[in-house]
């Protein structure tokens, strides 16, 4: 009893010592001014990439069915040896997983979940793909909405884990793989659905996500793998930079009645520039998803 009382007193003393008397600070708070002179150097910047489901959700109604052949073959998963290969292809496979769930490719959802889990083990983020979640996924294979939630949840967990563990270079490569695969899947959907102008417009808009990705990767540019991948992505951005962009003030209110934020933007993506983008992205994807044991032999 005495021991318990003693330890309680000690604990109380310890907790109290962490506080101290409340003393009002004399420091006056700064003015509420953002973007004043000289602030640029001291801004703390955080970047978030949209998860692939946002794009797939927007194009799902415009596109035809998802096809297994569009995805990176799951059988290649054991053939990525280098950290760069595993990280980039984790981004590719996890995007394929989300895509499969959005296009109701139920068998592929299970297959790509296990594929991602295998690569996640190698990257030290296995906890994002738990056995319990796989059991939940199997139980929901006939429920499309649940599959979307579970696959997106797994993607988000992996993304958060990479952020929390401060695995910046790996995260950069994963996101690069995800961006390239999203573009590849969009191109394949356009192949299937014909030159749907709405889908083509989505390709044009990916310029913005690529610029965002490159900015996000910049702090990791000291890593050789990241620098190499950035160089490849910058070459794709150079193609986008040749596309004319028109910015015009939005006329009228939004159909929802909410205010419209900023200008309308029109990308004048010609078929020539579209083809140049397809060639550049597919060339990068082909090289990056090639099994490394094969290329190294």
């Amino acid at each position: 009893m005495k021991t318990t009382v003693l330890s309680t007193i000690l604990l109380a003393a310890l907790v109290t010592s962490c506080g101290g008397d409340p003393k009002p600070t004399n420091d006056a708070g700064p003015g509420l001014v953002i973007g004043g002179d000289g602030t640029e150097a001291t801004v703390a910047s955080i970047y978030q990439m949209p998860t692939p489901n946002e794009l797939f959700n927007l194009v799902r109604d415009l596109a035809g069915e998802g096809q297994k052949r569009m995805l990176n073959p799951a059988g290649n998963v054991d053939r990525y040896v280098s950290l760069q290969g595993r990280a980039f292809n984790f981004g590719v496979y996890s995007t394929d997983l989300v895509f499969a769930s959005y296009f109701k490719m139920n068998v592929e959802v299970a297959r790509y979940y296990l594929t991602c889990k295998k690569l996640a083990d190698g990257l030290g983020i296995a906890s994002a793909f738990s056995d319990a979640d796989f059991v939940r996924l199997e139980a929901n294979l006939t429920r499309g909405d649940s599959l979307e939630l579970i696959s997106n949840d797994a993607y988000t967990k992996a993304y958060t884990k990479l952020q929390d563990e401060k695995m910046g270079p790996v995260l950069s490569l994963v996101l690069a793989g995800g961006w390239v695969e999203s573009m590849h899947l969009l191109f394949r959907q356009i192949d299937g659905a014909g030159n749907n102008p709405n889908l083509m417009a989505r390709v044009g808009e990916q310029k913005v996500t690529l610029e965002h990705l490159l900015d996000m990767m910049e702090p990791q540019a000291g890593d050789a793998d990241v620098a190499n991948t950035m160089m490849e992505l910058t070459a794709i951005r150079d193609i986008y930079d040749q596309v004319n962009v028109k910015r015009v003030a939005h006329q009228g209110a939004s159909t929802s009645g909410r205010m419209v934020l900023g200008d309308d933007v029109q990308m004048e993506l010609t078929s020539e520039k579209y083809q140049a983008l397809v060639d550049a992205v597919e060339d990068l994807r082909t090289r990056m998803t090639a099994p490394e044991d094969k290329s190294n032999s």
């Binding site: 021991t3 506080g19 001291t42 159909t255």
Partner: protein, 205 residues
């Protein structure tokens, strides 16, 4: 004695876990302290984020917003440290092209009347146009012009890169640390919600 040591170890573990919970709370601050929309059509966006923010230091969350979506961005924060109201801006980041004339200096061989190299070189200045890009920022919304509102709803008609910028004034009544230092770092949660832009009214026939 062993019991005392065990109790102290247990107490220390309790305090350590309290600290861990504190960190956990900041990572998920927007989930637990955010004020989600009552409109059930909104769903949480994966780019939502919480972060530790220092008083007086501008912090920005860079995100992508997609054409054809309505968004709601709401911000919650630790008022005890950061003060009652935050200044918040939504800023678009744009790569703007501009053509620049660049002077290039090259060394060229000097030729004689017969077109043969004389063995000497001369500087030749040429000009060529090159397209360069500047990163520019455009303020789209500023809460200091909207009664310091901590939430905003809008429609997005073009896919954009935006930064949610916040700066905290601090709380002059904040409790200082035992060392006497002012506790000037608190948690800010940025909750982003989205939905496909709905069409209100009757569809045209």
């Amino acid at each position: 004695m062993n019991q005392i040591i065990n109790s102290l170890l247990a107490s220390a573990a309790l305090l350590a876990s309290g600290s861990a919970i504190g960190q956990y709370k900041c990572a998920d601050y927007h989930r637990f302290n955010g004020d989600p929309s009552g409109d059930k059509r909104f769903s949480m966006n994966g780019q939502s984020k919480s972060a530790m923010v220092q008083v007086g230091k501008e912090t920005e969350l860079n995100i992508i917003i997609y054409r054809g979506q309505d968004y709601r961005i709401s911000i919650s924060h630790d008022e005890k440290i950061l003060g009652e109201q935050l200044a918040i801006r939504l800023v678009e980041k744009i790569r703007v092209p501009h053509d620049e004339t660049i002077e290039v200096i090259t060394q060229e061989a000097v030729l004689d009347e017969q077109g043969n190299a004389t063995g000497t070189t001369q500087e030749v200045k040429t000009k060529r146009k090159e397209r360069l890009f500047n990163d520019e920022e455009k303020v789209l919304w500023d809460n200091t012009e909207h009664d310091m509102a901590d939430e905003v709803e809008f429609s997005c008609t073009a896919t954009k890169r935006i930064a949610v910028e916040v700066i905290a004034p601090g709380n002059s009544d904040a409790k200082p640390k035992k060392s006497g230092e002012t506790n000037d770092i608190g948690c800010v949660g940025i909750l982003i919600e989205h939905m496909p832009t709905p069409v209100l009214g009757f569809e045209p026939q």
